[in-house]
């Protein structure tokens, strides 16, 4: 079943066409990686999907309903969570308060009272529960990235969009992240922007390659590895 789809999605910035994706379909339960050279429009593309920016043209559907005009916060309510490429947390609040917000949002959606439990579970899953009452801003960079993911987790989303989650992490931390994403994929569909090919090849069921804002190729990791166009784009042929 298709969870999310986009048709003829176009975003212009001034005279520049940043994104022009004819068709994009994301089946439920998949881990999909979006890759592409720098400036290929990856972040712009997923920002259109999660509603941070409005498209110039095109349509986006989520679980059969048209969400093209839906503001970002309402898309979150439908089950689309986004974690930022540049760490975006509440540095002056505790880790607990950081995850408490999305947990509270989730709890209000199913009218339940389990926000506090939900928050602690999210912290446990990323291994930060022992630091729950420390200030988020005083944590190491790797822990802040984990917190960012925990905030997404606490929303219990149907679709989790991760924008370069491993950027700037050390080798050992990346291994932890791979495990984490695999575990998350059991409950949610994952859309992953990633530069690290090792991570992409290890995790993704399918890969979408963007170049100059357009879909260059789409397929399994093996197909993409063998694709001549993709090699040219990456080698700058």
């Amino acid at each position: 079943m298709t969870l999310l789809s986009a048709k003829n999605l176009i975003k212009d910035f001034g005279g520049l066409r940043a994104v022009n994706v004819g068709a994009f379909e994301l089946p439920q339960g998949e881990i999909r990686a979006v890759i592409g050279p720098n400036g290929a429009g990856k972040t712009t593309f997923v920002s259109l999907l999660c509603g941070r920016i409005a498209p110039t043209q095109g349509a986006i559907h989520f679980e059969e309903s048209d969400i093209t005009r839906l503001p970002a916060h309402d898309r979150v309510a439908l089950g689309i969570a986004y974690t930022f490429q540049i760490t975006s947390i509440y540095p002056n609040l505790t880790l607990y308060d950081n995850v408490m917000l999305p947990a509270q949002r989730r709890a209000s959606l199913n009218a339940s009272n389990d926000a506090a439990d939900r928050a602690m579970v999210a912290l446990e899953r990323v291994g930060l529960s022992s630091r729950a009452f420390e200030r988020a801003g005083s944590q190491a960079y790797g822990h802040q990235r984990l917190l960012e993911v925990a905030m997404g987790l606490a929303l219990a989303p149907k679709l989790l969009i991760l924008d370069e989650p491993t950027q700037g992490l050390a080798e050992g931390e990346i291994e932890t992240f791979k495990e984490l994403i695999r575990a998350m994929a059991k409950d949610a569909t994952v859309l992953l922007i990633e530069h690290n090919m090792n991570v992409v090849m290890a995790l993704a069921n399918r890969i979408t390659v963007l170049n100059f804002g357009e879909t260059l190729a789409e397929g399994t990791p093996e197909e993409i590895r063998a694709n001549a166009d993709v090699q040219t784009a990456y080698l700058g042929g």
């Binding site: 941070r52 970002a72 309510a77 947390i89 509440y90 917000l101 509270q104 949002r105 926000a115 929303l155």
Partner: protein, 313 residues
């Protein structure tokens, strides 16, 4: 069961304020009554500025709306005090809703200037309808009208208790708001609005709520001022009365529930003291603003909170 330290502290402060009437001279008792009314105003402002991070330069408009809402209905329509007070609050709340809905289309510096301009327009409007509002000079509510049933609100002791009640209710409401789920969202908006939006919260209704609540507090304080001290005037809508709550909150500690009370007490007595020395006593306001913004952004209680593990709400 866990002891609610914060609630106990706030109740203790309320009790302490009540006890002050027995130890203070009538002069200081009168001052404290005035301070508690102004602190109510600033406590509401703190929800907007301290907790939500929105700096309004136009809250005098809501203070004046409360003041005139109560004062005009008493003067022209013979409202009894008990009806005039809520009328003032309603007037201020409605105005805050309208202006909030417009001004919140902007952010940052533009929000500051828009609120300043709306308040200025309101102030000038009060001057323009001088015939009814008595402009800068204002008018005095007759002592006979300033009573609820048999209780004379203009008498020293009842006035003190009335001011104390209004402040206490305001303080507990503020405490409840900032510790509620909605309060957590307000703080989140202050800390990182875009993140909050991407966690599924639409910031706009929360920000508008903060404007409206702070407007209602300002209105309650303005109406109380008219009833307890008898004076109603356009000068209460001037920029100076918009700056005052900002100053109280900054000095006492923005984002600490008790901050505005501490700030109001300090500034009130600082100005009172300066008034004895010089006619240019308002220089205190300027110097305090500059020093606070340069060296002590957290204010008195904000600095204390950092050393107490942050449990102070």
């Amino acid at each position: 069961m866990r002891v609610d330290r914060a609630l106990i502290l706030h109740l203790a402060v309320i009790a302490l304020l009540f006890a002050m009437q027995y130890v203070m001279s009538p002069y200081h008792q009168g001052n404290l009554a005035r301070i508690m009314v102004l602190a109510t105003y600033a406590t509401g402002y703190n929800i907007l500025f301290g907790y939500t991070g929105l700096l309004s330069l136009g809250h005098a408009l809501f203070f004046a709306a409360g003041m005139y809402g109560a004062g005009m209905t008493m003067r022209y329509w013979d409202f009894p005090a008990i009806a005039a007070f809520p009328t003032g609050i309603i007037a201020a709340t409605a105005l805050a809703f309208l202006i909030g809905a417009l001004a919140l289309r902007t952010t940052g510096v533009a929000f500051m200037i828009v609120t300043l301009m709306f308040a200025q327009a309101g102030f000038l409007t009060l001057l323009y309808f001088n015939e009814y509002t008595r402009g800068d000079e204002g008018f005095v509510l007759p002592q006979a009208d300033r009573a609820i049933g048999m209780i004379d609100l203009s008498a020293d002791d009842t006035r003190f208790i009335a001011a104390w009640m209004i402040f206490s209710v305001g303080l507990l409401i503020a405490l409840a708001i900032v510790r509620s789920k909605a309060g957590r969202v307000l703080i989140a908006i202050r800390e990182n609005e875009e993140r909050t939006r991407m966690l599924g919260f639409n910031p706009f209704p929360y920000k508008l709520g903060a404007v409206v609540v702070s407007g209602a507090f300002a209105g309650a304080a303005g109406a109380a001022y008219a009833l307890l001290f008898g004076s109603v005037g356009a000068s209460f809508a001037s920029i100076q009365y918009s700056i005052e709550p900002l100053l109280f909150v900054l000095l006492g500690g923005a984002g600490v529930v008790l901050g505005p009370l501490v700030g109001s007490i300090l500034i009130f007595y600082l100005i009172d003291y300066a008034r004895e020395i010089t006619t240019a006593y308002l220089i205190v306001v300027g110097v305090a603003l500059v020093l606070l913004i340069l060296f002590a952004r957290k204010g008195v209680l904000g600095s204390i909170r950092r050393r107490t593990d942050g449990w102070l709400p």
